[in-house]
């Protein structure tokens, strides 16, 4: 736990002003000291400008270290641009649903960032600063009940129709009313879009809330859902059975993004070409090609051979080798994903769950199983999400304490518990074995049950009672946007048990529910921080729901000549295509 002496604040302030600290360091230290977002933002503004402009973070293995001027620039500051204007990215699976207001998976959202746009996007690595996307400017009133967006005046959809305020409103009405996939990103704030979204003029749009909404901008920057689709295309392709033309949008792309789809083969590849009528500065790459490469080893070979220029789906074992390859850069970053082991609430009492949390092999899992692609965390909220409370202690392995708590819980030596995981899941299998070994040391038997992935999913998301479920199952989650409620509600609220959500172990704590319901309607950031802290304390210490073992670190591999890539902990595995470029070599 960080001690909060005044000199820490001073050191942070001076470091930021002098440019000694990077934006990431300012952010991390600010959060640790419990500063509010506005305070951190002002510090970031004071921070040195070395990371401005979306430049790539120092790659861990790029050969450009120590260069002056900065990579890609000449002595006059001009960028040395490559003539190769194709960027090929490898995905690990196809993207069957191309409707951005329906698709709810990671690869789809990564693809959408090439061709669709939100109103605003998260800026660089920050999880609470924004930059323009379709909206050039935005503002809100003092009580956070009205949010005004000024759109790019010349924005057009790929079908040639104008993207004005009416079109954006129509797109949001579709998103809310269609009620598919990620629609709760909008429904939490806008229940009646026809009334709540007001078109002021051709380029001005106002979202009117029914109460103060401190997280509305965060939701608007989510890559899940609030992407703007062409209402003209919807009108043209809608049918009586499909009034929002979902079936058509599931196979076609008409957005306002910097790239326009020219070839769509959902299980093979997507080819995008630069959109000539793009409303902002044209991106560097002429084409973005997304290839579906299912096999892990093939993706690695494609990266190493230079055939593919970027990939976010590389095994940790391969990453360790690729770090040493001077032709590649491995950009590592902390995500907002937290992974945990669900504990069966009906079968294990609070003391037992605390005991098991002490028996978990935290360090071994992070070092040996995750290969360093994770760090200890004190609950389900990552340290870059609003509401993270560094004052909450983090569990560490303590078998004596575990034994004491398990004994107090009525568990005797020789008692058997079950840990279920999917056949072929090497990570889960390794973690389970390490946990099993720890428990064996205190006389507890952990039975490992491997089941087919389908059966595991059915068990997790089905309606079987908790008594028929194992004692332990793994899970992981990251929020759709910077929101602690969005992270915890589907996983731990009693409204989300069984098939109603992801609360697969039937966690049901009345106090937790009460605080969560308050958190949902919190009207200020301070309230969110306060409530999240209390909730996380319940989830981890008072009445543990799970063993929160790591905040996940990810890596994106790029060819060494790629610049402008900035990872973001919320846009996991995505690429800011519009900022990226290739340096001439």
């Amino acid at each position: 736990m960080e001690r909060r002496h005044p000199e820490h604040y001073l050191d942070l302030l001076l470091g930021a002003r002098a440019g000694r600290l990077t934006r990431r360091q300012v952010l991390t230290r600010g959060l640790r000291l419990g500063l509010s977002t506005p305070a951190i933002l002002s510090l970031l503004a004071a921070c040195g400008q070395q990371e401005e402009g979306g430049a790539a973070p120092a790659p861990t293995s790029a050969p450009a270290a120590g260069q002056t001027p900065a990579p890609g620039a000449t002595a006059t500051g001009e960028r040395r641009l490559s003539d190769n204007r194709d960027f090929v990215v490898a995905f690990s699976g196809g993207v069957p649903d191309l409707d951005p207001q329906s698709a709810y998976d990671n690869q789809a959202s990564a693809l959408f960032l090439a061709c669709y746009e939100m109103l605003i996007a998260l800026k660089g690595e920050s999880t609470f600063e924004y930059e323009p996307m379709l909206a050039r400017e935005w503002s809100q009133n003092d009580d956070l009940t009205e949010f005004t967006f000024k759109l790019a005046p010349n924005a057009k959809f790929h079908d040639g129709t104008p993207c004005d305020a009416e079109a954006v409103k129509a797109s949001f009405v579709r998103f809310r009313r269609m009620e598919r996939g990620p629609y709760n990103v909008i429904s939490r704030f806008v229940d009646n879009p026809e009334e709540q979204i007001e078109v002021v003029d051709a380029t001005t749009l106002v979202f009117k809330m029914t109460k103060p909404e401190p997280l509305f901008l965060a939701a608007m920057a989510s890559e899940y859902g609030p992407l703007v689709v062409s209402p003209a295309a919807m009108e043209q392709h809608k049918t009586a059975d499909d009034p929002y033309a979902h079936e058509w949008f599931a196979q076609n792309i008409v957005g306002t993004g910097p790239y326009k789809a020219v070839e769509i083969l959902p299980q093979e590849r997507f080819v995008f070409e630069r959109f000539a009528d793009y409303h902002s500065e044209p991106p560097f790459f002429d084409r973005i090609i997304a290839r579906v490469v299912v096999e892990d080893a093939t993706r690695r070979q494609l990266m190493e051979s230079g055939e593919v220029h970027g990939c976010a789906y590389i095994n940790p074992e391969d990453l360790l080798v690729m770090r040493d390859n001077p032709a590649l850069q491995v950009v590592e970053y902390d995500t907002t994903e937290v992974d945990w082991i669900r504990m069966n609430y009906a079968k294990l009492n609070a003391k037992a769950r605390q005991g098991f949390a002490y028996a978990w092999p935290y360090q071994e899992v992070i070092e040996q199983v995750l290969r360093g692609y994770g760090k200890p965390i004190n609950g389900p909220i990552a340290d870059t999400v609003i509401g993270y409370d560094p004052s909450i202690p983090t569990y560490t392995t303590d078998l004596e304490k575990a034994k004491q708590l398990l004994t107090e819980a009525g568990i005797r030596e020789g008692d058997t518990f079950t840990y279920m995981f999917a056949t072929g899941d090497a990570t889960d299998s390794a973690m389970a074995q390490l946990f099993q070994a720890n428990l064996a040391q205190i006389g507890i038997t952990l039975e490992l049950q491997q089941v087919d992935r389908a059966a595991l999913l059915e068990l997790a998301y089905g309606d079987s009672p908790p008594e028929e479920r194992p004692h332990f199952m793994s899970a992981g989650w990251w929020p759709d946007y910077n929101d602690s409620w969005n992270q915890m509600y589907p996983n731990f609220h009693s409204d989300s048990v069984g098939s109603k959500g992801s609360n697969a172990m039937f966690y049901q704590n009345a106090e937790f529910d009460r605080l969560m319901d308050q958190l949902q309607v919190a009207e200020s950031e301070e309230e969110i921080r306060e409530l999240t802290g209390q909730i996380v304390k319940i989830l981890t210490w008072d009445d543990p729901a799970a063993i929160f073992y790591a905040q996940i670190k990810k890596a994106t591999v790029l060819q060494a000549d790629i610049r402008g890539f900035t990872p973001n902990g919320i846009y996991i595995n995505s690429f800011p295509f519009w900022h990226m470029w290739r340096e001439a070599t």
Binding site: E179, Q267, R291, V293
Partner: protein
């Protein structure tokens, strides 16, 4: 007689396909799974999942789902794929030709290389050549195709850059006009020789890997058949008549030794059609094997059953062709 054979086999084919569909449908639904949840994703709300379930008719009783599906199959409508969100027909139209072309080239390689190797190995029994051929046969039977695929990809693509990593054509290269749906054939028919060579280059590695196991089997079958035939009296007689070795081997021995090999070749085509999954995954080959893999992962019942039916149909048809070939190759065989 041959016509009688064809009619009878086609009659039985209906029952084979019906049985296949029933077994596949039952097995698919016995596995506890929720395709609607898979489509919606783990984050989707229960309402969103329910909407998908209703849209795709997954909320109806099982027997009703099966009857609806089979009624569609009779009209050659395989329903909609849950994972690609398109009609399965449309998917099969795209992916099946890729697998057929890959299988044909794999088989072509196995036959063109396997028969001469088998013949030479038998004729030069216990020679160095025979030893090499037998080693190749053992390797072909024992090396797992995924390992061979990864190794070849590593050496020929990643290290030497001699062949592309996979796919039917490079990105950006226009497909030939559709005539037969086989790229190499269509490229030749439309006079695009360069495109033919490009497509052939892309086929080389996956076809070699897929055909390597069959090559081993064909070689062994031909070798053993030839060894048996070469010891027959009529071969000795032919030699005694002063016929050239080439004539004895090709005209007299090979024709008879090929009979068992024909059966194996037929069976191999069926096996390769259904067994190209790993090769297609590693080489990013857009065939029905890869399609089936994705479908299975997503509990895409319509796609899984359709692929099973297609492969079953192909298998039965190839067997029928083998039987016909048997009759034509050996007039002593009577259709019963």
């Amino acid at each position: 007689m041959v016509l009688h054979l064809i009619i009878r086999r086609l009659f039985f084919l209906v029952f084979v396909l019906l049985g296949l569909s029933l077994i596949t449908f039952t097995l698919s639904h016995v596995v506890p799974s929720d395709p609607a949840r898979m489509i919606a994703g783990p984050r989707a709300s229960p309402e969103a999942v329910e909407k998908i379930r209703k849209d795709y008719g997954l909320d109806r009783p099982l027997h009703e789902q099966y009857i609806r599906y089979m009624a569609g199959v009779i009209r050659l409508d395989f329903g909609e794929s849950l994972s690609s969100r398109r009609p399965v027909n449309q998917d099969l139209k795209r992916y099946l030709p890729a697998t057929v072309e890959l299988t044909l080239y794999a088989m072509l390689f196995a036959v063109v290389a396997g028969i001469p190797l088998g013949v030479l190995s038998a004729v030069k029994r216990n020679s160095l050549l025979d030893g090499i051929t037998r080693t190749i046969s053992v390797l072909g039977l024992s090396i797992p195709s995924f390992w061979l695929a990864l190794m070849l990809q590593f050496v020929l693509f990643a290290q030497l850059g001699l062949l592309p990593d996979g796919q039917r054509l490079p990105i950006g290269v226009k497909e030939p006009p559709t005539i037969t749906t086989l790229y190499t054939v269509d490229a030749l028919l439309s006079g695009q020789f360069g495109l033919f060579l490009t497509a052939l280059k892309h086929l080389a590695m996956p076809a070699f890997v897929l055909g390597f196991g069959s090559l081993a089997i064909v070689t062994r079958m031909v070798r053993s058949g030839m060894l048996e035939v070469l010891g027959q009296d009529y071969i000795r007689t032919a030699r005694a008549k002063g016929l050239e070795q080439k004539t004895v081997v090709i005209r007299h021995a090979l024709k008879n030794a090929l009979l068992p090999a024909v059966t194996v070749i037929g069976l191999q085509i069926g096996l390769l059609l259904g067994g190209a999954v790993l090769v297609e995954i590693i080489f990013s080959w857009p065939g029905i094997g890869r399609y089936a893999f994705t479908a299975i992962q997503n509990f895409d019942y319509n796609a899984v059953i359709s692929v099973t039916l297609i492969i079953g149909f192909a298998y039965v048809t190839v067997n029928l062709l083998v039987d016909i070939a048997y009759v034509l190759l050996d007039p002593r065989i009577r259709v019963t």
